[in-house]
């Protein structure tokens, strides 16, 4: 007990009266180490989290229904959507008709024997613009032109990745693109054996491949082209009210017997295991980087405390000489290490939650395939802070122990 008291007494005064610049430097290093532990992992995990969030917001909604693998569409779609609308958690629903087809450009100018028009196999999607906007806000993603309107015919929206003008500089996302196409251009669409000319009304930008590689038209027009009169759709995206549980709604729909009509999944489930695997991979990578960060931090603390103890070896010898126990001196060094780690981690927490998290929420990192977020769950962050403090204590104890265990007289005489 006396050792703890004297250790505290000595540590407090060493911290208070040591060089402010040395103290600030050590704390700065500890803060950077903490940020390295938390932020690098947070960005890596946030990269996939951003992609997953975009998929949910821009494409699937929180709950997503698709046709069974054995069916061409979702049978009894109207019944499914009517039931889903009756759930209090459901805020909006969009049913989509989807048919594989072909979109062509330059078909009027490519007339030579060796010339052929740009032609891409795509998914043609028929949407109710109002419902789709309520679920995915597709109109907000227009980078050029205007949104579709209900009842409007002869117009389409093109995904950005289909148009050469909008893919330049963004890498080889699509090998085949439509050249010379922009808002107001005419394209030819071939679907289910029928052909029609459409005016490009807008270009949709999204990092979700399912959104930026599609052609959108008003649902009534696509139904007419593919001859679907029963109003059975291929996808149903469901937006929930804030705070509602996706699994609860999914289970409710399954309980209503719709599992036999469609694949009923949460957004996350509908993204498959690939994203989970990537997320796990990134989490492992983050742990490796964090582990290296911890080793660097422990070596830093070791060196700092070792140099401190070596330069104060004479005084350590004198303290032992006048009767201060080795444990009291060790405690003083361990307490100093804890101080550096606590302040470093504390400042790191402030930087993460008061600066970086709000900033990245407002300004996601522009990765090629997602808008990366900073994922820093409080429990994981606190665990990392605890690990940093624990490692620092160990890294502070050993060098102090090494110096303190030296012969008292040798320490006093500096030999």
């Amino acid at each position: 007990m006396d050792s703890l008291r004297v250790g505290w007494f000595l540590a407090l005064r060493q911290i208070k009266r040591s060089s402010i610049w040395t103290t600030l430097l050590i704390i700065f290093i500890m803060t950077l180490t903490f940020l390295n532990l938390v932020v690098v992992g947070g960005i890596l995990v946030g990269l996939t989290a951003g992609a997953s969030l975009a998929y949910e917001r821009q494409y699937s909604g929180e709950v997503f229904l698709r046709n069974l693998m054995t069916k061409e569409y979702i049978e009894q779609s109207e019944n499914v959507m009517r039931t889903a609308r009756s759930f209090p958690e459901v805020a909006a629903i969009s049913g989509r008709y989807i048919q594989g087809g072909k979109v062509e450009a330059n078909y009027k100018t490519a007339v030579g024997p060796k010339q052929s028009p740009d032609s891409i196999g795509v998914q043609i999607v028929g949407i109710d613009p109002v419902s789709e906007n309520a679920v995915t806000g597709i109109g907000e993603r227009l980078i050029s032109g205007e949104d579709l309107k209900i009842g409007e015919e002869g117009y389409v929206l093109l995904g950005k990745n289909l148009v050469e003008k909008y893919t330049v500089g963004s890498g080889p996302i699509s090998v085949v693109v439509l050249h010379g196409i922009d808002v107001g251009s005419r394209v030819r669409i071939n679907v289910a054996g029928r052909e029609g000319e459409f005016t490009v009304k807008g270009i949709i930008k999204s990092k979700v491949g399912d959104v930026s590689m599609r052609v959108y038209m008003v649902d009534a027009e696509l139904r007419r082209m593919i001859g679907r009169s029963d109003k059975n759709v291929d996808e149903i995206a469901i937006r929930l009210v804030p705070g509602a549980s996706a699994t609860q709604v999914r289970d409710g729909l399954k309980a209503a017997g719709f599992e036999s009509l469609a694949r009923v999944e949460t957004s996350r489930e509908s993204q498959g295991t690939f994203l989970d695997d990537i997320e796990k991979t990134f989490a492992m990578l983050a742990n490796v980087i964090g582990g290296i960060g911890i080793i660097v931090a422990s070596i830093t603390v070791f060196i700092v405390i070792f140099i401190n103890a070596v330069t104060r070896r004479k005084y350590i010898g004198i303290l032992k000489g006048i009767g201060v126990t080795a444990s009291a001196i060790e405690i003083s060094y361990v307490l100093q290490s804890i101080f550096y780690a606590l302040i470093g981690a504390g400042l790191g927490l402030i930087v993460v939650y008061a600066v970086l998290k709000p900033y990245f929420d407002g300004h996601p990192i522009n990765f090629p395939f997602s808008d990366g977020l900073l994922v820093v769950p409080i429990d994981g962050t606190m665990l990392r802070a605890a690990v940093l403090i624990a490692v620092t204590i160990v890294a502070g104890y050993f060098p102090a122990r090494m110096i303190i265990s030296k012969n008292t007289l040798d320490s006093i005489l500096g030999r």
């Binding site: 007990m1 050792s3 009266r17 000489g321 009767g323 126990t325 012969n407 007289l409």
Partner: protein
């Protein structure tokens, strides 16, 4: 008076084999309680080495040290530290104050280690500093004190906890003659009050202030006076 320090056939050697160098050669001496003893000798004679053995800062290669009836050889390292804390006081040549502690805090450290409350430790430290005329300099750091003042703080630290024996290793080596006389005057006063003092010095003038002078030469005691 009872014997408080009893050294029996003390040998201190450094190194091994052919490289072994014997600094103290079979030294025996006794010091009574309340005595003021000066250990003198030329540089390299072994006087400081002798004091380190007597004050439990070092372990002799051979021989026995008995302090206040306690056989020092039987004490483990922690026990020696505890023994020093409760029974011995030290004044070092270069003052040996902790640079980040004020004069008051430097003196209070051994008292806190003894388990005294901070209030009591500070009170006793203040009394000790007052006894060496430093009552006005309690809150000064060592860097804000002169050499003489620092040595007086060191003396205050060595006596605040009421040690049975006070060891001083060349306490005036870094001081001018006027300040040296002041410091030795304090030792004289302490001894007059019954404090046992063992002081190493190479200056004859200061050695003469002691009750007894033990002269060391080439690792042997050559005279007692």
């Amino acid at each position: 008076m009872p014997i408080i320090i009893d050294a029996i056939n003390v040998v201190k050697a450094y190194g091994e084999g052919e490289l072994q160098h014997t600094v103290l050669k079979n030294i025996s001496l006794q010091i009574e309680e309340g005595e003021f003893v000066a250990i003198m000798g030329r540089s390299g004679a072994g006087k400081s080495t002798l004091m380190y053995q007597l004050s439990l800062l070092d372990r002799p290669t051979e021989g026995e040290i008995i302090l206040d009836g306690v056989y020092a050889n039987t004490l483990e390292e922690d026990e020696r530290t505890r023994f020093r804390l409760h029974n011995l006081g030290y004044v070092f040549q270069d003052y040996a104050l902790m640079p980040e502690l004020t004069a008051l805090e430097n003196v209070a450290v051994p008292l806190l280690m003894q388990g005294k409350s901070k209030k009591e430790a500070y009170e006793k430290a203040t009394v000790a500093l007052d006894s060496v005329s430093l009552a006005e300099r309690l809150m000064n750091l060592p860097s804000q004190l002169s050499g003489g003042e620092q040595q007086r703080v060191s003396i205050a630290r060595s006596i605040a906890h009421g040690p049975k024996i006070l060891f001083a290793d060349e306490p005036t080596a870094n001081l001018d003659s006027e300040t040296s006389r002041q410091v030795l005057g304090i030792f004289r006063e302490l001894n007059d009050k019954g404090q046992t003092i063992v002081m190493v010095t190479h200056e004859k003038e200061f050695g003469l202030l002691a009750d007894r002078i033990i002269t060391v030469q080439d690792g042997n005691i050559v005279s007692y006076r």
